[in-house]
Structures are given as structure tokens and as C-alpha cells.
Symmetry: C2
């Protein structure tokens, strides 16, 4: 089924303890689309770029079955640029430069053939832009998922809460869940956040995995153990892309399918961090992906222990 | 089968954001024995206490089927005392007081009927004491498990490495695994540490769960989500106790049984942190324990996603 993806398409400078990369392709929508393209075909991107953005990058996405006609190229404009540096084995990062450039005037107008999309992934952007996209849909999508960040909780909480009332699935990290809910316990945070609107909540814990809440259940996906992590940039977006791509590739929507979607997101994120930028997402053979999905199963399957000793 | 437990039996003062408790019973061996007692019967404790230690506490352990004849009471001596304070939602703790007292002269002599124990849990102590216990066994135990800490890595690495060569299972936390191996990647840390001797390695990640390595496999147990965490003291020992108790209660020893043992350890730890000290471990009804074990299953079971879209 169709998946609408909105988010940044950008250039990044990235420095990690393992090396550096300059002016490589990045942006939330880029990672989301690449990851989703392994699970579903009809992907429609909405974003804004300058005329400095290489056409070959858009062509590569088109070859993966991604419709890029919703990406507006501003003549004479410069693409969004982010530079960051990771410290201490990737656990913290510092933003060195944020040049909004064309993103400053981003006011997306969906192409008419995008408006019936059944799945919508709203990447991290101003809540008012996220809301504007929802309002342009011709019918209520089957699933609207949203990513956001602490910055919008600090600066635009009212607008954020308005968007949350319209979505099905919120994908945020641990700190953001605590800030949004005012609760430290993630169980309590889930209760508060789900009251705000989303039927399902995913809490990302980076190298410690991800939690899925919904329908009275909790599911947990660990992060795969890796020998080398080169660059965590885009891992969260890649996770969301794998997740939403898997949902869009399936007829059913229930907790069992969502569990599988979380695993797909985690598997895609494990590829992402092994190379700089979205490089590792460009050409993953099916068997590599299947092998990773099975690794999760091996890490998690067990028979419930029986009690040989009764306490009562 | 028989489980020998060696470790501290102590008094603790504990302060957490949720309250404080003074001079409550603590010590690694206490938590280990209580947790193990839910899974196996023949538990034999080795420790040292002063004559200030309440006899009723030993009687309570005896009622759970724990042999306390190996706990030496020093006349006129004072029991080991630790005082600590937890900060920031339990993620860091500060030691306020450590009074070794009788522990300073601890040189355990195993009672003759302890020496044929089939399972041995060496709680965190000076490596030379851990080694002395191994040397007193009349036959090679089926499983020797060991807990240690960064302090011994800093001050007694040679002795620690000597003990590691004699054990089957090492149970340490994430930071300790990184320090012991000199590797940040836990996959690489596992390779280095398993070369030192242990056939199996468990890496505890606190609220983020625990990893089990061995026989070419990796297994992961999440920590159960809890509404309220009162006091994390003893959670690691409780985890080890549940784990070793489950192993001792089973004939088989293989990766499948170890996976179940990790789950039992995690379940016991989830009870432990809900109250101050070992209080929550004293009277857990079978059904409560079974319910928790099943919660892990619900958090972790999924069907491996199929790929509908081939990349090749």
C-alpha cells in the first residue's frame, strides 16, 4: 500500500570517533524512504531541497520505487545543512552547524496523487507543518505515524499536542517520552502519552532497543549487537522507515504485525549505523536482511521456565 | 541439586528518591540465597557476621531450606555495614560508608558437607577468597559462577584472571565487561572475556536488561517495566541468585536452560527493586512468579517477518 513520507532531505557533515564525512546526503526523509523501500513499493516523498542537491540521489531513490515528485527544488536555494560530532563511543552528540536554508520556508503542498496515501510517516518537523500535511489528505489514512523531538516540546507544545490528537503511532526516544509525559517510569509515560491521542507508542532506546505499547500489551526489541558502529546518524529515522515500510507492505494492522514492524525497523537501523550516512541502506541483499531478522528471533526466543518448587 | 553461595551478609543504610531505610539486612549472599530459594532446595551459605546480626534472619533463611551452618558468627564482632544513596532516578549511586568489620578477616573454611556442592555461586569478594573456595571443593562442581567488580580489576587483576580461568559463568555489568576486556563493543568484549576462561558470559545492563553469551549464541532478556522502583540495592545479586537457583533446580545445562535461567533472574530482580532491601523476596506466591515469567514471554515473542519484496 502507499506510504507518504515527509521530512528533511539534506547535506550532513559528520564526525565520529571512527572518521568523518563531509557534505554527504542525509535528512530524515532520506533515511525513512531508503529503509521503507525494502518492504513496500509505493513510497511518496515530500520535502524541499536547493538546486545544489545532486539529481543522481533522487534518481537512486526513484530506482527503488520512490516517487520524488513531491520534493520541491528551490532554484538558487541551498539545501538544509547539518554538521555534528559524536563523542564517547557515540552516546552523545554535539550539533556544530544547523543551516536551515530552504527549509526555513518549507510549506509543503501535497501533489494531488499523494493525497490518498494509506500510510503517512511524518518525520521530525515543526508540528504545524505536520498538521498541515494531515489536513491535506483526501481521506483519513489507515495509519499516521509521527516523530518529534524535545525542541518542539519546549517551543511548540500546544501545536504538538494538537497533532498528537490526530495520529495513530508516536515514535520518540526515552528522554522525549519522559519530557512529554512528565513521568520517569516508561509504563506511566505510556499511559499519559496514549491519553494524548496515539493508539500506539514506540519508545526508542538507541543501543538498548525499543519498546512498543498498545492494545494493553508491551513488546520489546533489543538492538542487534554489532562489532563496529561507524555513525549513528539517521538510525532513528531508519528505524521508523523500516517500521512504516513493513506496515505499508501488509494488509493487516494489529499488535502482532506491529511487533514484526518494530523488528524490521531495528534490523534496518543495525545496517544504517555500520557505515557513514545512508550508504549502508543502498544495496542490502535480501538474504542479509533475512539473516538479521532471524538474529532477532535467536536473541529473543525462549520457553517459559516452569516452576519445580511451589511456594504456597 | 546443591547450590553453594558465598558472599556478604550485612547491614545496609539506603537512601533513594523514594525513601530511606536504616540498618536493614543486606549483603550479596542474602539476596542470592533468597532469590535462589524459589527454584531449588539444597542451598548452602558461606559468609561471616558479627554477633549483632539477628538470629531471626538466619532462621527465616533456614525456613526457606537454606543451610546457614557455613555462616561464621564472630563473637564480639560487628557485621559488614554499607550505606549508600541513589540519585537521579536510580541511575547513579554514591557509597557513603563502608565498614568492613568482621569481613576484613574473612577466610572461609567450608564445612565438610558443603564441599561436594554441584553448583557454586561466588558473590563479589576478593578474588583470592573466591579462589580459596574453589580449591576447597572435593570435586569439580558442575557450574561455578562468579560475580566481581571494577574495584578488583583495578586492585587485583592478576588474582581475578586466575579465578576466571577456573569458572564456567561470569556475571558482570556493562562497564565491568568493557573494563575487563578493554573493548567497547560488547560483542568484542565477549570474545576477549571468554578467552580468559568462562564458557558463558552474562552482561547485566540494569534497567536495560541482560545479555547471555555462549555456544556461539547471544540471548537477550529485557528488564520488566515497573510502575515504581523503590530501591535497586541487591538487584544484581538477586538476578544472579534466580539464575543459579534455576540452574541448580534443573538436570540439564545447555544454552536453552541458561536462557530460561536469565529470565528467572530478571523476574526475581523485578520483584527485588519494588521494595527496600530483600523485603520483596521474602514471600512471593507461586502465581505471582509465574505471571512475571509469562510477562517476559509476552514482551519477547514474535513471528519472524517475511519479506514480501525481494531486493535481488
Amino acid at each position: 500500500m502507499s506510504l507518504l513520507v515527509i521530512g528533511t532531505v539534506a547535506f550532513d557533515d559528520i564526525e565520529t570517533p571512527f572518521g568523518r564525512a563531509e557534505k554527504i546526503v542525509g535528512g530524515a526523509a532520506t533515511y525513512i524512504a531508503w529503509a521503507a523501500s525494502y518492504f513496500t513499493d509505493d513510497i511518496r516523498m515530500v520535502s524541499i531541497i536547493g538546486d545544489d542537491f545532486p539529481k543522481s540521489e533522487l534518481a537512486a531513490l526513484q530506482e527503488r520505487g520512490v516517487d520524488t515528485s513531491g520534493i520541491k527544488a528551490v532554484e538558487g536555494g541551498k539545501s538544509f545543512f547539518w554538521a555534528g560530532r559524536y563523542h564517547h563511543n557515540m552516546n552523545s552528540r554535539e550539533t556544530l552547524v544547523t543551516d536551515l536554508n530552504v527549509l526555513a520556508d518549507f510549506d509543503p503542498v501535497l501533489p494531488p496523487h499523494y493525497r490518498d496515501s494509506e500510510y503517512v510517516m511524518l518525520g521530525n518537523l515543526t508540528p504545524s507543518i505536520q498538521l498541515s500535511v494531515i489536513r491535506q489528505m483526501s481521506a483519513r489514512p489507515k495509519v499516521i505515524a509521527l516523530d518529534t523531538m524535545n525542541y518542539w516540546m519546549d517551543s511548540a507544545m500546544d501545536e504538538l499536542k494538537e497533532v498528537l490528537a490526530h495520529i495513530d503511532l508516536l515514535i520518540i526516544n526515552e528522554d522525549e517520552a519522559r519530557q512529554l509525559s512528565g513521568q520517569y517510569s516508561l509504563l506511566k509515560a505510556n499511559d499519559v502519552i496514549r491519553e494524548m491521542g496515539p493508539k500506539y507508542l514506540v519508545i526508542k532506546k538507541g543501543e538498548h532497543g525499543a519498546l512498543l505499547f498498545g492494545e494493553g500489551h508491551v513488546f520489546f526489541s533489543p538492538a542487534l549487537l554489532l562489532t563496529e558502529v561507524q555513525d549513528p546518524t539517521g538510525a532513528g529515522d531508519t528505524f521508523a522507515g523500516g517500521l512504516m515500510g513493513y506496515l505499508a507492505g501488509n494488509e493487516d494492522l494489529n499488535f502482532e504485525v506491529l511487533k514484526q514492524a518494530i523488528i524490521c525497523g531495528s534490523a534496518m537501523a543495525s545496517f544504517c549505523v555500520e557505515k557513514f550516512g545512508p550508504e549502508a541502506l543502498r544495496d542490502i541483499p535480501s538474504q542479509h536482511l533475512i539473516d538479521r531478522l532471524e538474529k532477532f528471533s535467536m536473541m529473543m526466543q525462549f520457553q517459559v521456565p516452569g516452576l519445580r518448587k511451589s511456594q504456597d
